[in-house]
């Protein structure tokens, strides 16, 4: 058994989280609240250390640094949602962020779609390529919304597309299972090996 404080801390916290599988209990609740608190504290503290502090020290004071005042004030307007009567001011950063984000989508996403389109222009000289095209066009057909009773061709294509989508989702499930078990294995290995001193 380990004598290290770090290992004991980690082991007890791991057991506290696992205890939730049996039922809700105080050890789990303490860990859960610890988790939320640490995550929030870390996020803010890190942003301060790595971004806000350097910007305030190096950029705002530098020549021409006054321009930084605008975004900092804009972002800070979000806090007005906690001040009664001033909540509407928070709409300004929100509106600009959502507009800026929509601009990003509009500016960059079409080129990725074009890449997907040109990438699908395969030579129809092998069974796999034909099958790929059928799966893709069939998949498109499942997402047709404007025809209430879809005509026969689109319906058949849509069915094939739906099967392709189900295969894709099944394969994704398989990958997810392995990923989750790998993570759990790591934590259990820590308990068994580092804490209890068993195994290799």
């Amino acid at each position: 058994m380990s004598t290290s404080l770090a290992v004991w801390t980690g082991a007890l916290l791991t057991l506290a989280v696992l205890s939730f599988l049996y039922d809700d209990n105080p050890a789990w609740r303490i860990t859960e609240h610890l988790y939320v608190g640490l995550a929030a504290g870390y996020g803010l503290g890190y942003t301060w250390q790595n971004y806000l502090r350097p910007v305030l020290l190096n950029q705002v004071g530098a020549p021409g640094g006054w321009i930084w005042i605008f975004p900092l004030v804009l972002g800070a307007l979000l806090y007005t949602r906690y001040i009664r009567g001033w909540e509407w001011l928070a709409r300004f950063p929100m509106g600009i962020w959502i507009g800026y984000g929509a601009g990003y989508i509009l500016a960059y996403l079409p080129r990725v779609v074009v890449g997907q389109v040109t990438g699908s222009m395969v030579a129809l000289n092998s069974l796999s390529n034909v099958a790929l095209l059928v799966c893709l066009l069939g998949g498109f057909a499942t997402f047709v919304f404007t025809l209430p009773d879809r005509p026969g061709l689109i319906r058949t294509a849509g069915r094939i597309g739906r099967y392709a989508i189900l295969i894709a989702l099944g394969v994704a499930f398989g990958g997810t299972v392995l990923y989750r078990f790998t993570l759990l294995y790591g934590q259990v290995h820590f308990l068994v090996h580092d804490w209890l001193g068993l195994g290799h």
């Binding site: 971004y51 990725v112 299972v177 078990f181």
Partner: protein, 271 residues
Amino acid sequence: MTALRRLDRRWLYLGVLLITVAAAVWPLRIAPRPTRETRTAFDLAQALQPGAGVFVYVEYGLGSREEMDPMLAAVLGHLADRGAHIVIAARSPEASQVAETVMGGVAARDPAYAKGYGQTWVNLGYRPAPDVALRAATSGIAAAYNEVDYAGRPLAGMPILQALRALNRTYFALAYAFDSGDGFAPMIYYVGTPTGLPVIIGAISMEVPLLQPYLAAGQLAAVIAGARGAAEYEALAGQPRRADVLVGASAMAAIYVLAVMLLGNLVARRP
């Protein structure tokens, strides 16, 4: 059968625990045959000239370390063997500390990297609105990261960023994203597609199917797939073998989950 139909899910949980404990006490090592995708990733790194610029974007945080750390360590180790100059950035505060830990371990093995911070490698850390920061780096890294590295040290004096000024094909040979789900899309949208820089994704096994359309369209140069891809890469690059036990553990898990699915179907079949 009626008892099975009303099975308390905690019995299934107990099975999960027993399987993982067994895998930890009696580790099963499986060395998988390298797939074409992993070999492509290896070949791209193998072809690097000494001093070539490589961008490594780390997205995964504390929760995904078990699957991703071996892969990141294997690739960074290989890049160090090739003498590449490595610029690391992160998508979250957590990821930046994870990257620092893993790169620290790799650098310790190689004198050119152990003493070469700022010269052979740099860790830029994380900035809020990471997509915007990543996009901004394609036209100027130092400005996008506010002239400081992950520990707040000024970038101005670092030779590596004199040579590798912007994240594009003029300065870099390869870009990597080590990803647990949120980093691949920004890497394709804002870096790979606009600049034409070859992008390699080191992915958790969960997201590998999702990357297939991009891989097939040439929007990704290669994908290293989860613990299995890590094990293959370690073998190809002659790096320390840490992922084989993960592949062994996931083999045991796969068989257990298949058995559970089968049981579920048998229980449902019986009248």
